[in-house]
């Protein structure tokens, strides 16, 4: 009986159960703990199956724990995407280092070993540097706009070609110096890959890089002949791939367009100077609208989180519910800064997950919704995405809020949304605009509804 292999098998099962647990919020947390237990089992098993440098390994693990736990404990929920990007990056770097080190230790491992090594080093490096750039963009340390280098595509293709040549050269020469060069080329490739991706599309880059790290880990499993690494890496690769595809669908654009076609600057609205009338309302108007509705839908966007208005929104929703009004939240798949981010932000504010609805849950019954409250969202309710083929966001599935009986649009100003596209909904006669900071407006609304 090979206890080590058996322990790895148990760990792999734990990982699968962890992912399976996520099919419902009720078992998700338990699933994650099972996954962590599996990881602990695997790590302890690995530790007891080696004989050298044990103390140093323990020190490195302790140091990693000392960095990882406080970072994970303290991160704000709005900053989860950049944290995930960072953890993803260090995982990719670790995979590349593992393959590189194994290559130095093993004299000649054969062709398949070399191929797996080359893949791990390349993909791991791309994932690391790409994740770092993603982090810098999300943390707004660098610009969130697409960075287009002059001849950027030519440079990218050249670096990719060099990487390919280096990879081949490593296969034939077994040279570790060339492998290091390949790692550097991979780092450059990762940076070039993420730079042109615009702020709103960064979530896609994160999920793709997540898939990359998974694949790098799976490839490193070949290098080491370790089945657990193969299984776990592949699971992550699959989940990253699925999420990437779902996100691209939610944006209504093919993946290649998102990654390589950096949003063409929105065409300036023709005519320019033409002033169109909008209807701005007062807090009291909106309070009356809400207070006498039967059904209210809240469509939150990232602006809600930026204004830290989740709690105010939930309080208002509870007040309305206590008046017998049905309140739901319409969550667009791309709301927030990564897939499903808005759900996390609302859950943090104690919004019960049963009230979080998707496009398909909400759109068919939109006609019977009395008031839609759009808070800090814009593009996801823009009818242009549905009706105007010339719109840059045409094809993106949206909430058909223009079909509801009335719409309240809470906005800071008349500035267009992230994609820089004008929103026809603002000029719709059903729409009332409520200008101001989201949190402030919601708090005022709360008082006004109470006074009804």
């Amino acid at each position: 009986m090979n206890w080590v292999q058996l322990a790895y098998l148990a760990a792999a099962l734990c990982f699968i159960l962890a992912l399976k647990g996520l099919s419902t919020p009720r078992y998700a947390r338990a699933g994650n703990l099972v996954g962590a237990a599996g990881m602990a089992l695997a790590v302890v098993t690995a530790f007891f199956s080696v004989s050298h440098n044990l103390v140093l390994i323990l020190v490195a693990v302790a140091a990693g724990t000392a960095v990882g736990i406080p970072a994970a404990r303290q991160v704000k929920m709005t900053a989860i995407p950049q944290m995930v990007a960072l953890f993803n990056g260090v995982g990719g770097a670790a995979a590349a280092l593992v393959a590189l080190t194994e290559f130095l230790e093993v004299a000649d491992g054969g062709v398949l070993f070399d191929v797996a090594t080359v893949l791990t080093v390349l993909i791991g490096s791309v994932s690391f540097s790409g994740s770092v750039v993603t982090f810098l963009k999300l943390q707004e340390i660098m610009t969130t706009r697409p960075v287009l280098l002059p001849a950027g595509q030519v440079i990218s293709i050249a670096v990719a070609a060099v990487s390919g040549l280096l990879a081949l050269a490593v296969l034939f020469t077994d040279s570790s110096a060339l492998l290091v060069l390949l790692a550097l080329a991979g780092l450059a490739l990762g940076v070039l890959f993420v730079l042109p991706v615009g702020g709103a599309d960064v979530p896609i880059a994160i999920s793709l890089l997540n898939a990359f790290t998974g694949l790098a880990v799976a490839a490193s499993g070949y290098v080491l002949g370790n089945t657990l690494l193969i299984v776990a890496g592949t699971l992550v690769g699959a989940s990253g791939t699925i999420l990437t595809r779902l996100m691209a669908q939610a944006m209504g654009r093919p993946l290649t367009n998102i990654l390589f076609g950096a949003f063409k600057a929105a065409p300036p609205s023709a005519g320019g100077g033409e002033q169109r009338t909008v209807r701005a309302g007062t807090v009291e108007d909106v309070a009356i609208l809400l207070g006498y509705a039967h059904s209210v839908l809240v469509v939150p966007g990232y602006g809600l989180a930026v204004a830290q208005a989740q709690h105010a929104a939930r309080e208002l929703a509870q007040l309305l519910e206590s008046r017998g009004i049905s309140v739901n939240y319409g969550i667009h798949p791309v709301a927030g800064r990564m897939p499903g981010h808005m759900n996390v932000l609302l859950a943090e504010a104690d919004v019960p997950y049963e009230q979080l609805k998707e496009l398909d849950d909400v759109n068919p019954g939109m006609g019977s919704v009395d008031v839609v409250l759009v808070v800090g969202a814009n593009d996801v309710v823009n009818p242009g995405a549905r009706d105007e083929p010339s719109s840059p966001i045409y094809g993106m599935p949206i909430f058909d809020v223009d079909k509801a009986k009335s719409v309240v649009f809470m906005k800071r100003s008349m500035r267009p949304g992230f994609a820089g596209v004008d929103n026809e909904l603002l000029y719709n006669p059903k729409t009332t605009l409520l200008f101001g900071d989201a949190k402030e407006s919601l708090t005022k609304l709360l008082t006004a509804v109470k006074a009804l």
Binding site: K20, V50, A72, T101, E105, L229, A238, I242, D350, E358
Partner: protein, 91 residues
């Protein structure tokens, strides 16, 4: 080698099967949970460091152990924090 390939192919199918059932409201925890799982590279990092004869291999191996630990520990903790918040209607 064909054994490893078999495992890989089967894992692809298991992965797609399991993940496509994940509830959409849990996509962020899915990503961060998957993130924690690829931290399993820590196992690989320990294995190579445990046979390193010193010098550059030892340094690189230890660096890998450190980075992978950050990945694993941080990933699971942050996922747990998120999932803790997804409570049902009865509070």
């Amino acid at each position: 080698m064909i054994d490893l390939l078999t495992i890989f192919v089967l894992a692809v199918f298991v992965g797609f099967e399991v993940v496509s059932k994940v509830s959409t409201i849990l996509h962020t925890p899915l990503m961060s949970g998957a993130n924690a799982i690829h931290g399993v590279i820590l196992v690989g990092a320990i294995l190579i460091t445990g046979q390193a004869e010193g010098g550059i291999e030892l340094v690189l191996g230890l660096l890998a152990v450190f980075l992978a630990t950050v990945n694993v520990v941080g990933g699971f903790v942050v996922t747990d924090r998120m999932l803790e918040m997804f409570k049902g209607h009865k509070r």
